[in-house]
């Protein structure tokens, strides 16, 4: 029997206490397209990075053509004919396509750019790419840049290509073109692994599908004999009961009404596409979706940190009863209007807290404007810092320890504690339990529940579906910047959410109608 092009045997990789990949077995045949499917954080990219020489496995072995190999650097990977196209392109803006392609190749040949241009054109013609070798990267579209990345690995003679979510940045038409090229490469004998979340793409491009869940390999199945439901079930697994308390919302009033907001980024991609929903007081609205589906842009738009192209955000002021439009207001204007939004950004230390400042100073970031005298008032922030440390059981030597020296969970508690202390009417939290241990996670869940009972409209962006199902009252699912459904968390199933997360809503008519259950 012919050896597999690539084989992984019992591969395990851990980062600290986190097991990214546990005893994974995988094989890739010659001339096939294998789709690698799994939720966020299930270890797909880590696994592929080990093949590409970016990480080194703790245990297990990698075989190329039946021979065990040791891959310690991207250079090694190239030597074995493996090329990876990363999600974030590794290209130099001011260089031309050819200069980027030839970068780092030491084959002893004389460096002549015109010869490189010719070879690039030759490869492009063979597989049907459209590429201008002399064009500078900074003048290219996203899809052209991706083409350069693919030609780069082919130029190095790769037989095994790994593409990490290549369609995430492409339009449907560009995706079709890419798939046509991939099929031609497969027919030419290349082996291709494609990481994707989009179920219809898995079914349309792949020969086989390998499913990972929580770092473990669940199964590899023939695409022809499987279907969407079966794959979704393998991907998300059975429901786990967590026993998070959940009360019924009391006197819900619409607090925040988002109408048709759309946002287009600098590459022309719709990061938010006609999003409409209402958040009610006294409820937790969950937001589910594959990472990068527009969660961050949505929260930042509401907080006044992100520019929307279209749409409006209406805020029902509980003190005056007026409706205020938050669109195009700065975060400070939003505060001055009496609109209180507390925002826990995804990147804790990047946007939420200043790492080199201590807990007290970080408290002051939200309060220093209130000061009347020339000197800062440190007393109140200090009291607040101490009460957060005591109430949330923050493990820290003192209130004057720089927050960067605290562990992730404690940093998160400080951040959430500060936001809650501003007694918000709308509390938005993005991935507040990411990287936290079980106990810290429950502390955060309880905090959110407390806020809900106080009548705060809580918007919770989460990644663990089990948590979303037990903590939230309603769950809004977004996919590719659009709402693919808003469901009742008490009656929905994990499978339903899983299907909505991977649903392609780019062609369907507006599925963003807010459901009218109240």
């Amino acid at each position: 029997m012919e050896h597999a092009a690539l084989e992984l045997r019992h591969v395990t990789k851990t980062f600290g206490n986190v097991i990214a990949n546990n005893n994974v077995n995988l094989d890739l045949r010659r001339g096939e397209i294998l789709a690698l499917l799994g939720e966020n954080g299930c270890g797909k990219t880590t696994l592929m990075n080990m093949i590409a020489g970016i990480y080194f496995p703790d245990e297990g072995e990698i075989l190329i053509g039946g021979e065990p190999v040791v891959i310690t650097s991207p250079k090694d990977a190239f030597r074995y004919g493996i090329g990876m196209i990363h999600q974030h392109f590794k290209l130099i803006d001011v260089f031309s396509a050819s200069e980027n392609i030839v970068l780092g190749i030491e084959n002893g040949e004389k460096y002549r750019l015109s010869a490189v241009n010719d070879r690039v054109q030759e490869i492009a013609d063979k597989y049907g790419f459209h590429i201008d070798p002399k064009k500078k990267i900074h003048t290219m579209s996203v899809s052209e840049k991706q083409t350069v990345e693919i030609v780069k690995v082919l130029y190095r003679g790769a037989d095994i290509l790994i593409l990490d979510e290549p369609t995430a940045v492409l339009t449907p038409q560009e995706t079709e073109k890419l798939f046509a090229v991939l099929r031609r490469m497969r027919d030419d004998g290349k082996s291709i692994i494609i990481i994707t979340h989009k179920m219809h793409e898995v079914l349309s491009i792949s020969d086989r599908v390998a499913v990972l869940r929580k770092g473990e390999h669940i199964a590899t199945v023939d695409t022809a004999t499987t279907n969407e439901n079966e794959l979704t079930e393998m991907m998300i697994g059975k429901k786990v009961t967590l026993n998070i308390d959940r009360s019924e919302p009391k006197n819900p009033v619409s607090r925040l009404t988002v109408n048709h907001i759309t946002s287009i980024d600098s590459d022309g991609v719709h990061t938010l596409d006609d999003i409409s929903f209402t958040a009610y007081s006294g409820e937790i609205l969950g937001v589910a979706g594959i990472a990068g589906s527009g969660q961050r842009e949505l929260l930042e738009s509401i907080a006044g940190l992100h520019h929307m192209t279209e749409g409006e955000i209406l805020y029902n002021d509980p003190t005056s009863g007026h409706m205020e439009n938050l669109r195009d207001k700065t975060p400070i204007q939003i505060r001055e209007l009496g609109v209180r939004l507390s925002f826990v950004p995804e990147d804790r230390l990047g946007m939420g807290l200043v790492g080199n400042m201590d807990i007290i100073d970080n408290m002051m970031l939200r309060s220093y404007r209130r000061g009347k005298s020339l000197f800062l008032d440190r007393k109140n922030p200090k009291d607040l810092a101490i009460s957060i440390i005591n109430n949330l059981e923050v493990v820290t030597p003192s209130a004057s320890t720089p927050v960067r020296r605290l562990s992730g969970g404690n940093v998160q508690k400080v951040l959430v504690g500060r936001e809650i202390a501003a007694s918000p009417t709308v509390l938005m939290a993005a991935y507040p339990v990411r990287g936290l241990d079980i106990n810290s996670s429950y502390t955060i869940y309880n905090l959110l529940n407390e806020q809900k009972e106080k009548g705060v409209a809580v918007i919770f962006v989460g990644e663990d579906l089990d948590v979303l199902l037990e903590l939230c009252d309603r769950i809004m699912v977004i996919s590719g910047g659009k709402i693919s459904g808003i469901v009742d968390a008490r009656t929905t199933t994990k499978e339903e959410i899983g299907l909505l997360m991977t649903k392609d809503v780019s062609h369907t008519a507006s599925a963003t109608k807010e459901e009218t259950k109240r």
Binding site: P74, K90, D93, V94, Y111, K136
Partner: protein
């Protein structure tokens, strides 16, 4: 007029060494503000070496050795400053701006000390060999005076600038170096040794910059040590911006800078107006920076990672 141009070129080429060296360094992503100190140390190393050779040869100087020994010592002195800079920023991950400024103050201090300890005539006697021009230059009228009347360092500056430009733009070495300065993470992923390129470019660049200091003392000042080398270093740093990071373009730019600088001596004007002329290089540098920032052409921008240290863990 000819005398003015000759003087402008002589001074300009002093600057060209500094700016070519700094450009090579900056292309690797290192914003080295230690160039003024490096030029001081380079000049002082050359003077000390010249002095040692003078003593060893008991005053009977061989023309070739009298030039070559200080030249190599200067390059080594400058490269040593580059090595310290690279060690601080690459290996110890110190802030580039702080490191550069520290090296400038250190360099000024060290060079003053080095030169203070030697007899001026022991190194200034080598100056004559640095300023020797082709023997037939004076028979060729204005052409000879304008193009052939210079000492070896002036031509060396031009050769180094042209070679640097070719290496940067036409070779794989240059491609890799530019990649390191633009995006070290990309270069690293492509298998380029970022650390080696940053060390190498910085040491070579500093070595070249050091030659500027030597040229100033031995050629422009005719062998007299003058405590203004650091201010010439700042002029060279400004020149890098004026040349929009192109050593070949720098040949012309440095002559313009040189013309501004020496113009005051050739014009019959009062002191205040002279100071105005000396200010001009800094003014035009600011204007150039404003223009390239407004035009925002990607090709005219400084290397994208200039001033940023690179650690592989931060993927």
């Amino acid at each position: 007029m000819i005398a003015f141009l000759v003087s402008a070129i002589r001074f300009g080429m002093t600057l060209l060494f500094g700016s070519t060296g700094e450009t090579i360094t900056e292309k690797s992503g290192h914003l080295n503000l230690g160039i003024p100190g490096t030029m001081c140390v380079g000049a002082a190393s050359g003077c000390v070496a010249a002095s040692l050779y003078y003593t060893a040869a008991s005053g009977n100087l061989n023309p070739v050795l009298a030039v070559l020994i200080p030249l190599l010592a200067t390059f080594a002195g400058g490269a040593l400053m580059g090595l310290i800079y690279s060690f601080m920023t690459v290996t110890l991950r110190a802030n580039q701006n702080v490191t550069g400024l520290v090296l400038t103050t250190l360099g000024v201090g060290i060079s003053d000390y080095m030169v203070a300890g030697i007899e001026p005539h022991t190194y200034s006697s080598a100056s004559i060999f640095f300023t020797t021009s082709l023997p037939f230059a004076k028979h060729l009228g204005w052409f000879g005076e304008l193009f052939l009347s210079y000492g070896i360092m002036i031509y060396l500056a031009i050769v180094i600038a042209i070679v640097s430009s070719l290496v940067l733009n036409k070779t794989k070495l240059g491609l890799h170096l530019r990649a390191v300065g633009e995006s070290p993470a990309t270069a690293d992923a492509a298998g380029i040794n970022v650390t080696a390129y940053r060390y190498g470019a910085t040491c070579i660049g500093c070595g070249i910059a050091g030659l500027g200091g030597l040229t100033f003392v031995m050629d422009y000042m005719l062998g007299n040590w003058e405590y203004v080398i650091d201010s010439i270093g700042w002029l060279a740093v400004a020149l890098v911006i004026f040349t929009v990071w192109r050593p070949n373009f720098g040949i012309l730019c440095s002559i313009i800078f040189g013309a501004f600088y020496v113009a005051s001596s050739y014009l019959n004007i009062d002191l205040a107006a002279k100071a105005l002329f000396k200010m001009l290089p800094y003014v035009v540098t600011t204007i150039v920076l404003i223009i390239i920032s407004m035009m925002n052409r990607k090709e005219d921008q400084p290397p994208a990672s200039l001033g940023l240290n690179y650690y592989r863990e931060e993927r």
